[in-house]
């Protein structure tokens, strides 16, 4: 810091007034040391090799401009690559080459430019540190007094403090004016008597007699096709005919079902739910009761269903009770039966809402 002729004195002055800036501020529980080690001041400046050796300086200069030229070359390379590696339709390798070569050209352009500039700054630019003095963030007493005065004058001239009727009505108006904006947001979702999220959540498209069909083909499933240990991803047969614009995804998000066959003696069934299964075949909602991921994994040996999102596990032998993980409730069961042609059908919709819990659920 040799160039700072005055730094020594500033430092000394700064030390004596330590932290104070004129206004004494509370130090709290800090121990104000009277016997502190003194600040030794700036160490002598050490010149760099490029300051001492003109050859090294020349070399640094060469490095910097070479890097800048290299950067320009990288940019040109990127433009050339854009033209030389076009994307050919249906050719993945051309996409890859395009990505790689444009990218490498640009990376070279950017890195060389950056490294060059930093090297210039470090090796060649004047490298002695400078000093700025700090000022307290708090305004000076006169500034603060003037600010207070300004407010006082404004208050006096407007009568804001005096005319309380005006003031209070203004505050009221200011509180009221954003409220319409809140109301406007009602339009975010459909309106009308049908538009009730609770009603929508309580029902799925399953109804009595709907055939259980494979997801996504919509081919109905016969009871005899379901062998012991197998698992089927199921949708209502009608869902497959639904177009995306007719609510396919919305219905599917609620109606997906897992179908499994266990040995009937493995199933522990409640009395009132005994006829919900058919010869060891059971159907459960595939929508996790935690936050709604599809419970996609079936562990044959243990008869456990596993949700891959947060690892909730459900016991198929015991009405899909939660045996591990953050899920809050068993997976709802879809009561099933077999129709005259041997196809599996639903006895009804689910008897409780599927998927994550919500406030109005009871």
């Amino acid at each position: 810091m040799a160039q700072d002729g005055n730094s020594g004195t500033e430092l000394a002055a700064a030390d004596s007034s330590d932290h104070g800036h004129g206004t004494e501020l509370a130090v709290g529980t800090a121990v104000v040391a009277t016997d502190a080690v003194p600040n030794p001041g700036f160490p002598p400046h050490r010149p760099r090799v490029t300051d001492l050796d003109p050859k090294k300086e020349k070399r640094a200069e060469r490095t910097v401009y070479t890097l800048f030229y290299l950067s320009a070359a990288g940019s040109i390379w990127a433009i050339a690559a854009y033209m030389m590696f076009p994307i050919e339709p249906e050719n993945l390798n051309s996409v890859r080459a395009n990505n790689l070569f444009i990218g490498l050209g640009l990376a070279l352009a950017l890195l060389a430019l950056g490294i060059g500039a930093v090297h210039w700054g470090k090796a060649l630019m004047h490298d002695q540190e400078g000093i700025d003095m700090r000022h307290p963030t708090r305004g000076s007493e006169s500034t603060r007094d003037r600010a207070v005065e300004v407010f006082a004058e404004a208050n006096e001239e407007s009568g804001f403090g005096r005319r309380s009727l005006i003031r209070n009505s203004l505050i009221g108006a200011l509180i009221a004016f954003p409220l319409p904006a809140v109301v406007l947001f009602r339009g975010l979702a459909p309106e009308g008597p049908e538009a009730n999220p609770v009603r929508l959540l309580e029902h799925t498209m399953w109804k009595k007699g709907d055939r259980l069909a494979r997801d996504p083909s919509g081919v109905p499933i016969k009871a005899v096709d379901v062998t012991i240990g197998s698992v089927f991803h199921v949708i209502p047969e009608e869902l497959a005919n639904l177009g995306h614009s007719e609510g396919y995804l919305e219905e599917k998000a609620k109606a997906i079902v897992l179908l499994m066959r266990l040995k009937p003696e493995d199933l522990v069934e409640d009395e009132d739910k005994k006829d919900w299964s058919y010869d060891g075949i059971v159907a459960y909602s595939k929508v996790c009761t935690h936050v709604g991921c599809p419970v996609a994994l079936y562990e044959q040996q243990t008869h456990h269903l596993l949700c891959p999102c947060h690892q909730s596990q459900f016991d198929v032998t015991n009405h899909c009770a939660v045996i591990f993980g953050p899920a809050a409730r068993p997976l709802p069961q879809l009561p099933i039966a077999v129709d005259d042609e041997g196809y599996l059908v639903a006895q009804s919709d689910f008897l409780e809402p599927v998927g994550p819990s919500f406030w109005e659920r009871h």
Partner: protein, 541 residues
């Protein structure tokens, strides 16, 4: 005021006579903008130099990269969930029904030259953005840079961290692929778990039932308009305060609370910082040209039914996902005909409390110390042992949540049971921070002791000599005054004494404050004093 003196040779030609294009242009500008005042004020402003000060710069630069690459992407992306049949270049998905959002993302990836590159630059830069903010916050925390007058800037920075995550999540959801749809499904389930307003909030957000046909367009508005505007506004505020406060600096010889030592903006800082921008950009570009990220073509369009195990959200969402995984089973509570979904509310509350605690930490510490002075010299983490230990506890807490998001991968990778991993992490979530706290505090105090030793007696040189008296001692290399200053210049705080207030009462707040203060400062090691050093010179070996 800057006291840098320019090297002699550049100051010779005094006020070139008017002439030359630069002079004319400068004059033209100044007569219309007063720009000379800004150059005079800021041109030689001093910025201290330290590698850890670059972390915030990385964050700023990655945001610029995100804006540049993101603007390119908006020219091609269609934020619509209208159903289309994909007819682009990627053969495996040809003819598949998907939303226009997904199809246009595939087009960007496979049919537009440089499109995939820009997508990957955008995504990698986004990951870097959140990561560098996080690291920058750790630097600020552990060095005590959040102390007066910078408490509010800590809060502003913290808001930026939250905004960055929101930007990340909304962006991640836009391509409407299988993974992003599953992410949204999880958000939907969490929103529904909020008491009273949850069901309707989800209904309004998705414009009907999940997934609906609105959400991508809405997230797009947030992602490219509202959130970036907020990020920009908060960055502007953040930097404004950096200018007002001037940058902090580490303790060093000649550094005081009243000065700032470093390089002037023009030219050195501009060259280094400007160059560093290109380096950050270059590194992101290099990664983007070499490594694929978020290959949505492998996942396919969103469908509520399929899902694959082992898929991961972007890293910064991990802690929230992990929080969800650690909740115990069967926590629904049905009361008065309403469901309290504690399986969701509990982790949300725990994470919420954590976030609020981090955000308001500066005010808590200020209250405990009662120190109203400005602090511009950074603490060495060891010298603020309790704060550093609290920080380590917080990092551990976050790390456990984050590890929990990979519980399935941990279980399969190390062939242990899922249950075992989750149970262990559940315990670690509460025990881990406590252990980290005590270990860190011990280490800090140990390092302080060592610093003291070195300041007083110098470094152990490893050389053993025998004194004439037959006694063996190790030779100590003395430290220079400059080195010693770094070891001995910090301040000490002592626990607060309870004193009755003016009405002779001891308030509860006082008691709490005294208790916290004892917790903070009971174990402490005083910095070396001048007297000690002088007397130690006597027994220098």
């Amino acid at each position: 005021m800057s006291t840098v003196t320019a090297p002699a040779d550049t100051t010779k030609a005094p006020a070139k006579k008017s002439g030359g294009f630069t002079a004319a242009a400068s004059n033209y500008l100044d007569e219309r903008t007063s720009i000379s005042a800004a150059v005079k004020e800021f041109g030689r402003k001093i910025f201290p130099d330290h590698w850890s000060f670059l972390l915030g710069e990385v964050a700023l630069y990655s945001f610029v990269i995100i804006l540049l690459s993101g603007t390119f992407l908006t020219f091609f992306f269609q934020a619509s969930m209208a159903e289309v049949h994909y007819e682009g270049s990627y053969i495996p998905l040809k003819g598949v029904e998907m939303s226009a959002a997904m199809a246009s993302t595939l087009d960007i990836s496979f049919d537009i030259r440089g499109g995939l590159l820009m997508r990957q630059v955008h995504h990698w830069a986004a990951l870097l953005f959140v990561a560098s903010i996080g690291l920058h916050m750790l630097r600020v925390f552990f060095t005590g840079a959040f102390r007066k007058p910078r408490e509010l800037n800590w809060v502003i920075g913290f808001v930026l961290f939250i905004l960055a995550m929101a930007e990340g999540f909304t962006g991640y959801s836009l391509p409407d692929d299988l993974l992003s749809g599953n992410g949204l499904r999880i958000i939907d389930g969490m929103v529904k778990g909020i008491p009273v307003i949850g069901t309707w909030t989800s209904y309004l957000l998705f414009g009907g039932e999940f997934p609906g046909t609105e959400i991508v367009g809405r997230l797009y508005s947030l992602h490219i308009l509202l959130l970036p505007a907020m990020v920009l506004a908060f960055i502007a505020l953040h930097l404004l305060f950096v200018v007002v406060h001037k940058h902090t600096q580490y303790a060093g010889p000649g550094h005081t609370e009243q000065n700032v030592v470093g390089y002037p903006v023009l030219p050195v800082y501009a060259a280094k910082a400007g160059g560093f921008f290109f380096i950050v950009f270059g590194v992101v570009m290099l990664i983007a040209s070499l490594f694929t990220i978020n290959p949505i073509w492998n996942y396919g369009p969103y469908d509520p039914s399929p899902v694959s195990a082992g898929t991961q959200p972007d890293w910064y969402i991990g802690f929230a996902d992990g929080g969800l995984r650690l909740a115990p089973s069967n926590l629904d509570l049905v009361l008065f005909n309403h469901t309290f979904s504690f399986g969701i509310l509990l982790p949300l509350a725990v994470i919420g409390i954590f976030i609020v605690a981090v955000m308001f930490y500066p005010f808590l510490e200020a209250w405990i110390t009662g120190d109203k002075r400005e602090h511009h010299i950074l603490d060495r983490p060891r010298n603020a042992a309790t704060r550093t230990a609290i920080g380590a506890a917080g990092v551990t807490f976050y790390a456990v949540l984050w590890a929990a998001a990979s519980s399935d991968i941990i279980a399969t990778h190390f062939s242990v049971t899922m249950e075992g991993v989750i149970r262990t992490l559940q315990v670690l979530l509460f025990v881990g921070p406590v252990i980290a706290y005590f270990v860190t505090k011990r280490i800090c105090l140990g390092l302080q002791k060592k610093d003291r030793e070195i300041a007083l007696h110098g470094y152990e040189s490893g050389r053993i000599v025998r004194l004439p008296g037959g006694e063996y001692i190790e030779v100590h290399e003395p430290v220079s005054d400059y080195e010693r200053w770094k070891l001995a210049s910090h301040e000490e705080y002592k626990p607060l004494m309870i004193r009755p207030n003016s009405r002779g009462k001891i308030t509860v707040a006082q008691k709490v404050r005294a208790g916290l203060s004892r917790w903070f400062f009971e174990d402490r090691i005083s910095p070396v004093t001048r007297t000690e050093i002088e007397s130690s010179h006597g027994d220098h070996h």
